[in-house]
Every structure is written in structure tokens, then in C-alpha cells.
Symmetry: D3
Subunit: 277 residues, 6 copies
């Protein structure tokens, strides 16, 4: 069960000079695949479905709850950046290239659909789709999904930081960037608690003796012939990262033959030419 | 540029006893978020946009190309599992609970839309959406995204392996599970090549001195009061995983105040009650 | 900013006899358009963008926070209903029509993708899409959107109540149905606080003298000719509900003529036949 | 069954000075969630599935048919606003900030995909998704959904009216705004015909004695502690709006305990650490 | 502008024995990509944006209007097939494999979300997405898109015809199949009116002298080497179908070299390793 | 199974003067419904599910493989056009209308989400959705779907050609336009191999004697009355294009009556007013 603090913000949100194009860019941090709705729901769904040691569930709930507060901060920042956005067209607007550029570069729905407030969409106006809430139920996989989400989240926050020169916005982003630093570390720590790289291959509850052991540590190359150079790296030879095998490199060749699905069935909807009587 | 092998399969696909409900489940491995379309396109888009050391681009291209062959294998497996699926309704079908269960449990579009073949959709019939092609351009983040994709991919393949008792299908899945083992290792290896956990926080090109250093290694708890237990773990104290800070644990408190967006603008579309004259 | 209660549930969730088909149906209440993710985010986004009297923002925050707890309850209920779901196929399963029916009728991803836990999707497996978070910024329109959401929410909860005979599930649904009763009343009350039906047409900040007053209280009929009966009701005559006009009924006739877009431009991509030289 | 009038428009559509950026904004009224495709299909699906008194079905059909004509008008308006849009790039275009602003601010697909015509997408280019066709089969809920749709529809039309200074466009919008006025009244009238606020809670066919009567008229507050002010209003005390209860206000406390889903099943895909032997 | 006939159906819809699983399958014909919403909107948007000879616009409007009536018929058929669908669960239902199979095989939202009526979704419950409304503005391309839509539409109707043995449903489908026959012919006829195959390549308004004439009639093969057989057919040699060239067959070889995007920019969000100082 | 050529491009990609707005437009050719991801996957899925004469499967595989190379070329072109895109905001940028126009007109995610590289989205940032991979399993329908895809593909490439004046980009597009010319011809040739227009109505495996022969060659008009002119053309009289019937023209009249779904069931979720006791 959840509570609130009467709308007090986790960190101060100030906008010195509203900028409707930056408001559009900020939307990515709300409703983008790297955004706060995603992580808030992701950590919650991981928590709500957690099985096994309870401390993971508990920790997921902490940080999922924190992310809710980030949605709140960013939605506030969007609304503040829309103060002063053009709500009306007059002859002047039509003749001024700067106004034209602002109008054309804004999220149109910020003036058409919300009375100047944030939406749960990305910077292209594409609504957040909950298929991006990754919650596999496998704790190691989920911790990695979280490291990854926070990594792209921090890239995004850094990019936004460079795209504004507003003091208030930069200050808010410094806070969010720092939280992403912590969260990357936190999920890495949790991944290490369940074994880290030695816990691979995920899921470790499936015996590797049942997988095809001829190909489970082979880096296959698929260059069309010998003229294509083979990329070498940590992955191409030596002990595997999980410590359970040895990397080899081989050109891939077909193990199967060309499939033949035969003819279509009479009432399957195919053309007569595809059907053999 | 790409080539093919006349349709020869990377690994043999045989179905001993076709099963249309398993055909539906296999769709998850084609068009699900953990499926092969996703990884094929993901590795390709990461390759096509790669900047920096070229070996990463080269390796991405190898494995992206391999995954194309996995789509081919799985699409073949779906078509084979649909051999013998009910294409017609007769009185018998209506009275037999087993036939009814099969009809109701199938992907309806396998009989309505494809003449008994695979679709680029998941096991619920939801089409694959390319927003799941994660390609941030940051090589460390991308390698992690790939470890994660292969982790959930192997979970899925393992689950499918348990849901069939067909010898041919189990054999194909043993191959795919083994490849997921390799690919988890491969992307972990690539992540280690660019620094592994010490390369965090991602992006490492942003100076941490610009982030808010008061909160960048703090595990914040958000329990409503002192009665809520605090989850402890590797994340709550000690050296941070990236080696650059020290974990602390603190209850979060609001740093900002409740925002006040004031009144709405006269022509913004709000009600008069929200507008101050 | 938000807090939690260590995962304590707003109301008890007990499942006496797990039922994986009911787990699938319950998904509608989590990720359906009438579900809890929708209302939680809707009330929050309305709050975060609220302008005008602050009590609306405050109230929205209260109930948005409550709905977060409902997601938690329902996700727990789904996980509990998946206890004992088939995780493996053996010969027996293949021959038993009841097991076949359960397997075919389940959400396949509950066994393939989540290790037996809830997802942010509806009962067809379609992920929740945040375009359903209605937050127009106009307080009267938003309150109505909320009444409507809770109305379909209660219909859904009632339908789920009829589809189970599990004591624990029925008890949980009685709680949720009651909350929907309150919330319908609450949003109606808020709508009345800003004028209720007299506050229409929304937005009331636009002067009706600027709309086309010839057609603003006319019920137009579009039957093809006089043989089509005209539906009569409260809407066809008498004082309008907003108190500002009088309903009349008229057959609609075209006020405009057939448009002629003329020929296509030479380099527009049209066929030559569509282009006039 | 439906008929047409050879393409004559319900109301005149004239564009004095084509404006491709306004064409993009107009798309919201075609394919946005507040747009005409939505209401046309919504009223039709409500009609096609209507059970009970036939006059509602009949009325829904009337207005659904009218909305089809609105799609036609707006699609025409978009095409007319695209007359003269840039179809070619030359050196001049590259150097003129005004042309650059127009090019960047247009819907790119208006030049790339349609030979200068409308699309069934919103002002961000996001295609209309029929999940927004709300048709619950419950007549009172559906009438409310319609009031709401017309309320946001009128907000949108008003906003568009302010964003243009073209005489023809303003005249067309005056007509559409007026129709939204009527339609808000019409659906409110229909809602009152089936009981209006006294018909709540919807569905009224479910006996309230079966809901949890301890919490069905309680406004729950979820402030984390006593320092968070409680919002007071029509919803916090007094007779409930449906006339069937009395509003009270109470702080919410957990009625349930922290759930424990236990350990994961051996073959569920979880990590070994989550599985108890 | 559009009219209706008071809800009279274009063709009789009778259901002798309601079948909720068939109701689910019928949804494909309403909201599937081959369904009636698609063609109705497609023909309308093509009409609304038509430029050039007006008879195409006029004809598109005729058939778009007809398709609206098909949505109506199919929605009625779905509702009728849901008569008698299980609305309640009792102990009996739990023990009867036939009832279980029906419950599991139904569209769950037909009982949860619509009070037993149709939705604008496909047979998997995926909502129709208007990106499938193909309207390019090029008349020849659009006519082909329509032939194709009616071709898959007829395949679907034929498949549905085989999946029912209800007299009324078969009779309705005979009507729809016949209309698809006409519509395939009609769009082929329209395509021939604008030149048919000789009008290719579309758009014919672009001079072929500006395309790369070395590769515009070459069938490229991409087998990895000489061991892969080359498919021969009408496409591999002889006069091209448009009459403007001669087909040749050649193995494709790269005309370009491996691209090198170089290093990433310092503030682009990449890792330091990707950035050259 | 597939191979690659070490990243060598099928055709040279050069950008003389990077243009971030053109990068956004190019996205349509990657992830638009007319784009290369669509055709690559479409031809592959058609191949993977092909039944009947094997040469179609073989040919589909050839061209599907070619299209993979086109994705690669276009993704490279996007990345090259983003060289020099604004990665930082400074005071100058804020004051220069040309910079403002570029910033507002770019795909924001090209700077926020990808470190300046392509995404699998269209020119509005809407991710490609695999429902556009048309693969019906009926060979004639699929060949037509392919002609259509290449027709709109060439329209798009032509439009892009006009929107740039960069020599390198124009040269690349000349190549792609030429390939679209070939592919239109190729799929038309394949369609002719299975009978061309005489093979209609598709599917030809369904006996026309089972369709309603009263209406299978009738062009129905739906003008509301005699004042609406009837469009005449090749479709309105004469021998049908498939050679199997004769076109006639008739005004459509309802063959069915107004449906009556009666009252709602007691526990269906409807209002009491819709339920008859």
C-alpha cells in the first residue's frame, strides 16, 4: 500500500526561462522507454511477483516508490516549461521565423490536448506502452534489466542536461543523474548478491547437461566466405565469463536442410496451385 | 549486405506430433519481447549505428545474422506444428471436449489469417513492436541490453522445453538454449572489454563531479515511517560496485516543496473556475 | 513524493482454489482500459498538471495513491491464482480434456514469460497503453473522465465477481466494487463542485456567442428519407440540460458542397493521370 | 446500412491561406483520442451492441452517422491546408529560416506518404487505435463516456480555433464547436433518461448489499502522516451524490498483510536461489 | 455527408446456434487487418484525399459506405453468437471440460468488457490500428492496395465459412464472400482504367531516366555462393511486365564499402572508449 | 540460414552535407509502413510459411535478403546525416531562428536516445509494428501485397529524392528507386505466374457456386436517393476482370431488417433499465 506527502517534491523543480521545445524533449524522460513510468512500474511489478528471498521484493518496492516521485518531478518540469507557450495565433506569429520554429518544434498536444501540462508519452508523442515493463520473475534477469534501464536512463538525463542551459533544469537533472548512478550500482549489487556473472547462464535452474553442449560456448561467424574478417575479442577464446566453459570460434554451417512444408490443405485458404489433389 | 543459403536451416527442425497449442506458445520466441525478431534487429541496429572500435560493430553483425536464422527455424517449427490443425467444423468437433479445447486454445489467426504458418506476433497474438529494439549507441549500455535479452530469451526457451514432450521440438530447443548460453557469455565478455562494472555509471563520459554528489551512492528508503523494515544487502553499505563511492542508506525526505502551477491561462481550454481574471 | 508500507496490502488477498483461467481474466482489472494502472496514472497526471483551486490537485493525489495499492492487490491475486498452473507437459496432460482446456485457456505468458506472476496487460495479453491516461487539464472534463473510468471499472469488477466462486476472490472484489462506488460518487461530487451539468458546454471559458448558434442545440437526424423513424427523448425537445438553450430536432442537410481538391502537383508522388500539365 | 450524399459536405470547408503546420494540428481532430474517428466508431459500436430500450440504439446511430461527416470535413480541411506545401528542396529553402521552420514543423508524412492529404493519425502522427472506442454495453456508462468524449472534443476544437486566424477555418470550427455543445447536452440528456446521478453506482443491476459496505462511501486519505493536509470538498462529508449513502473521510490503513508468494517452482524459469528444494 | 437506414441490415444476420468461440473468430473480420473497419476507413480516406479524375473519388465513396454496413452486420453477428455465453461460474462449470473449453476459448472481454457485444478488435483481442488504412494519394497504388485488402478479406471470409456449421452464419458469409469477389474485380478494373500493369513502375510521374538504369530490371540473387540454386521464373528473363525493360538475373555483389562512422562526439552520450580526444 | 559480407554496403552511401531534418524524413524508409523493415520481414515470413511450388519460396528468400541490405544502407544514411547535429545548447542557439528550426524539426530521439543513429521507427517516431508484415499464405494475395508495398515504397523514395539536394543522397535514392521498379515488376510477374487477374477471386480454391451469386458482380451504389450521380467506369458494366462474370450496377437496398438484440441478461453488467425481469 502506498502513501504520499501532499505533493511535496523529492527535489526542487525550478524553471528560470520556460522553453516549450525542451518540454517536448523532457517527455522522453517521462514516457520514453528509458523513462520514469517504465522504471516505476517495472520495479513494482517485479516486487509484486517476487518469489524467493524477500529482501529483493523489499528493495524493489523502495526504489519503485522513489521513481513515482520522479514522474511527479518531471511532469512538473514539463508544465513549468510550457508557461508562456503560444496559445493563440496572430499576424505577428505568422511572420516571425523564431515563433514559427517554436510552434513547429513543440509537442502539438501540449497546446491542443492538455492545457499546457505533461503527458505519459515520449518526445515523439508516442504513448508509453507497458510491454516495456520487464518483469521475468527470474531475479538475476530482472536485476540486469534494471541495470540496463538505469544505464539508458542516465544517458538520457545526461543528454537532456546538455540540451538546456536553464539553471533550474540543470540542477534538477544533476539530481536525477546522481540517482541513476546509485541505481545502476544498486542493481549491479543485487545481481552480484545472486551470483553475478557466475550465475549465468540464466536461468541457472536448468541443467546445462540438457542443452546442446556442442554449441554452448562457440562464437559462430557468418561471413559469407573466407574474405570476411573474423572479429576477435574476449568472446572468441579463453575461459567463458560464467566460468563454465571455453570460448571457441567457428564458422557456422547449416546443421539442418531446407525445409519442405509440402502442399497446402484444400480448405486452408491457399490458391489451388498450392494444393495437391 | 546479406546472403542466404537457399533456405537451409541452421539446425534441424522436426516435429513428431504436431501440436497447434504449442505452435501458439512458440510464437513468443518469434515475436515476443524476448524473441528472435527482437534480437536480430537489435544487434543489427546496434551494428549499423556503431561508433568507436570497429570490432564491436563486426561482432554485432555476426550475431545479428545468426538470429535471422533462428527466426527461420522457429517459423518453420510453427508451420510444422500446425499440420493437421482443424480447418473445418463438423458436428463431431462440436461434441468433443478435446477438439473444443484445441480449437479454443489455438492462435485463431493460425487458421484464419495465414494458411497455417507463423506470424511476427507473440503468444497472445500481439504484433512485435520495434520500440523493443534497444540501441542506445552507448556500447556498454547496449552490451548489457543484450545480456538481458538473452537471459530472458533462455528463460523462455527453457519454459518452452518443459511445455513439450515432442522429441524433435526438444532437440531444437536444446540447440537454442545452448546458443543463449553462449550469447549471454558473449555480451558479458563484450561488456567486460569496455570495463564491465568499473565502467559504470554509464555513460562514463559524463563527469561525476557534475552530478549531485550528495545522493549518488545513497540507498533511499521510502517506508512511510519507522515501522517499515529497511531491506539490507550489498547495496546498503560498503564500497559501491563501480568502485567510485560508498553506499549509504537513508530515509528519503522531500527536498522540494509542493509545486504550484497557479491559474490556467484564459485561452488554454481550461474551465473558467481555473482561470483568474 | 510517495511512500509505501513495506508491501502491506490495502485489503486481504486470499485464494482458496487457484484458477489460472481466472488469473487471465483478472489481468483486465490490472492492464485493461478499465483497469487500475489506468486510473492510478490518470489521477496522478491530472494532479501533476492541475491548475486552479488546489483542492482538486490534492484530492486527485489521494485517490491516485490509493489506486497504486489496488494494482498491488490485483497483481498479488494473479500470482496466487497461478499457484499450481501446469509448468510441464507429460503424456497425461495430453490426454485429459480438462487439462487441455486449462492450458489452452490460460494466458500463455503467465507460464512462458513471468514465472507465474502478473503482467501490465489486459485479459487478451495486450499491454496497457498510456494513451488511455486521460488528463485534459480541464477540471470538469477530467472529473467526468474519472466518473466514466470508475463506472466501467465497477462493471468489470462485478463481472469478475460473477466469474469466480472462490471465497477469497469474491471478498477482495466486494472491497474493490465498494471502492468503485465511492469513487463514482467522489468524481460526481467534484464535477458538481465545478458546476455539474450547468458548467457545460465544456470548456465554459469559451464564449458561446462565438460558436455557430444555429446548430448548437439541434438534434440532427440522418435517416436517408422520411421512412426512417426519428428517435425521441429528453434530447429532442425542451430546455437543454446545460440550461442555456432549447433542444430542437431537424433532419440534417448538407451545408457545404462536394469538395474538389483539383489535380495533384507534379512532384507529389501521384500518377501522371492525376496531374494536369 | 449506410448511405452518402455524393460527397457533399455537412458544412462548408474553405481555407483562405493554406498552412501546413495547422494541417498537422488538425490531425488531432481526426485521429486523436478526442477526434472524430473515435466518436464515429464509438457511437456505432454502442448502437450495434445495444440491448434494452431501442431509442438509445436509434439515437446513437444518428449521431454516429453525423460524426462520419465530420471526419470527411476535417480530412478535406487538412488536404486544403497542404496546398502549396513544400514538395521540393532547393538552395533557397535551405537558407530561409521561415521555410526551414515550416518544413520542420509539418507532419513529414503529409509530404512523404499521402501526396498532401489527411491520415487517420493524431497531431504527433500516432495512428488512431480502436481501443479508444468505449462501448461497455451498459447504457449509463456509455452515455457518460460520450459526454466526456464530446467535452474533450470541444476543448480541442476551441484550441484549434485559437491557433488559426484563417477565416474559413474559424468558420468551420465554429460549426464543430457548436455541434460539440449539442452533443454534450444530448448525452447528458440520455444519461438523465436512465436516471442520471441517482442511477449510480453503475452498474445499478448489482445489489449494493453485496459490496463491502464498510468502505463504499468513505473518502480515504493516504497522506503519510498527520502533517499532510486533508482535502475537503463535496466528496468528504454529507449525503453521497447517488443519494444512497453518506460520505465520510478516513485515513486509509492496511487491511491486509504483506503477501508472501513463497518460493518459486523448480521448473518455472526462476533462478535456483528462488527455489527451495 | 452520410445517412443511415434506421439500422436495417444490408443482409440478414441470423444465428441458429450461438457459439461464443465463433464470436471470437468473427472479430477478425471486424477489427483484423483484413477486416471491415480497415476497408471502410481505407476507401473513405482515399476518397477524401483524392485528386485527379473525380470518378475514382465517387466510386471509393460508394464502396466505403457499403463497408460501413458490413461492420454493422458483423457486429450484430458477434452479439448474436454471444447469446447464452457463460456469465456466471458455478460448481458445475468447474467440472465440465466442455464448459471449461468454451470459457477458455472465448474472447474474455466479450464477457468482461462489453455485456456480450462486439469490439473493434481482431480475433486475438488486439485493437484495430489505423496505420493499416493505406491511402497513398497515388491512385494506382491505392487501387492495388484495395485489391489486396479484398483478397485477404475473401480468404478470411472463406476460412470463417469453413469454421462454422451454422446455417445463418454460412448464409451471411456467402453474401460477404460474394461482395469480396465483386470488390476484387472492381479495384482491378479501376487499376486497369489507370493503365494496369503498363502503368508501372508506380509512380509513373517520375522519369525512369532518373533512376539507376543499371539495376532497374535485374533480379538479384543473394545465395552465399555457387552452391545455392537460382530460382527461375517469369521474373528472371524476358520482357518486363511493365513493358519497359528486360529482366536479367545476376548475383548481387556489394557496390559500396564497409561504412565507418568514426568516433562518437564527446557529449553524445557514448562511452569514453567510443570517443577520440 | 543467413550470412553477411562484413558490413560492406550493397550500394555506396555518401552524404555531402549532413542534414538532421532529412535524417528524420529518411526514417520513413526504414520504419514506415512502406519501409525496408516491412518488406524484409514480409518476404521472409512469406518464404518461411510457403507451401506449394518451391520456386516462390526461393524467390521470396532472395529478395527478403536483399531488403536486409537496404535497411543497412538507410540506417547508415541516417547516421551520416546526423553528423554535426546540435548536441548542446548555448546562448547562440537560442537566438538563431535557423538553429531553432533545425532543433525543432529534428527527430528528438536522434539526439536523446541513440547517440546520433537510426531507429526502427517512421518519420514521426512511431515504432514499426509487425502487424504490417502481410503474409497470408495464399501466394496470389501475397504477390499482390508485395506489388503494393513496392509501389508505395517507390513513391516514398521518389518523394525523398525531391526533398534533398545532396548529391550522395540523390545517388543512393536513384539506386533504391530502381530496385523498387524491378521489385514491382518481379511481384507482378510472380502474380502472373499464378494466373494474374484470371486467378481472381482469391482464393480460387473456394468454389464460386457457394458464394451468393446474386451479388458477386454487382457494383452497388449507396447514394441516398436519385439526386446522387452514379460513378461509371470499367467496373460498372461489361465482362468482369476475372472473366467469370458480368458487371452490373444497382442501388443497394437493405436485404435484412433492423436487428433486435432484445434485453440484456441479469448479470451481464448492464443497467437495470436494459434488463427485463
Amino acid at each position: 500500500m502506498f502513501y504520499h506527502d501532499g505533493g511535496k517534491l523529492q527535489y526542487e523543480v525550478k524553471v528560470d526561462k520556460p522553453d516549450p521545445i525542451f518540454a517536448k524533449q523532457l517527455q522522453q524522460a517521462i514516457g520514453g522507454i528509458q523513462g520514469e513510468i517504465r522504471v516505476a512500474l517495472q520495479y513494482m511489478f517485479q516486487a509484486f511477483g517476487a518469489r524467493g528471498p524477500s529482501k529483493f521484493r523489499d528493495m524493489l518496492l523502495e526504489t519503485g516508490t522513489e521513481e513515482l516521485g520522479h514522474i511527479e518531478m518531471l511532469a512538473t518540469a514539463v508544465a513549468m516549461n510550457l508557461e508562456g507557450a503560444p496559445l493563440e495565433k496572430d499576424a505577428a506569429a505568422d511572420a516571425d521565423p523564431m515563433l514559427k520554429a517554436i510552434l513547429g518544434g513543440m509537442e502539438p498536444q501540449h497546446i491542443l490536448s492538455t492545457c499546457a501540462a505533461a503527458m505519459p508519452v515520449d518526445s515523439d508523442g508516442v504513448p508509453f506502452n507497458c510491454s516495456h515493463v520487464y518483469a521475468s520473475g527470474n531475479i538475476a534477469a530482472d536485476m540486469l534489466a534494471n541495470v540496463m534501464a538505469e544505464s539508458t536512463g542516465r544517458i538520457l538525463a545526461v543528454r537532456l542536461y546538455h540540451m538546456t542551459n536553464d539553471y533550474g533544469m540543470k540542477d534538477m537533472l544533476k539530481f536525477l543523474i546522481a540517482r541513476d548512478t546509485m541505481h545502476q550500482n544498486q542493481w549491479l549489487a543485487a545481481w552480484e548478491e545472486v551470483g553475478g556473472k557466475e550465475a549465468h547462464p540464466i536461468p541457472n535452474s536448468f541443467p546445462q547437461s540438457e542443452e546442446n553442449e556442442d554449441v554452448n560456448y562457440t562464437f559462430f561467424t557468418l561471413g559469407k566466405d573466407n574474405t570476411v574478417p573474423v572479429p576477435k575479442g574476449r568472446w572468441s577464446s579463453g575461459k567463458s565469463v560464467d566460468g563454465k566453459g571455453t570460448f571457441t570460434t567457428e564458422p557456422m554451417t547449416p546443421h539442418g536442410k531446407k525445409p519442405d512444408l509440402g502442399y497446402a490443405k484444400p480448405k486452408s485458404g491457399a490458391q489451388s496451385e498450392q494444393i495437391k489433389e
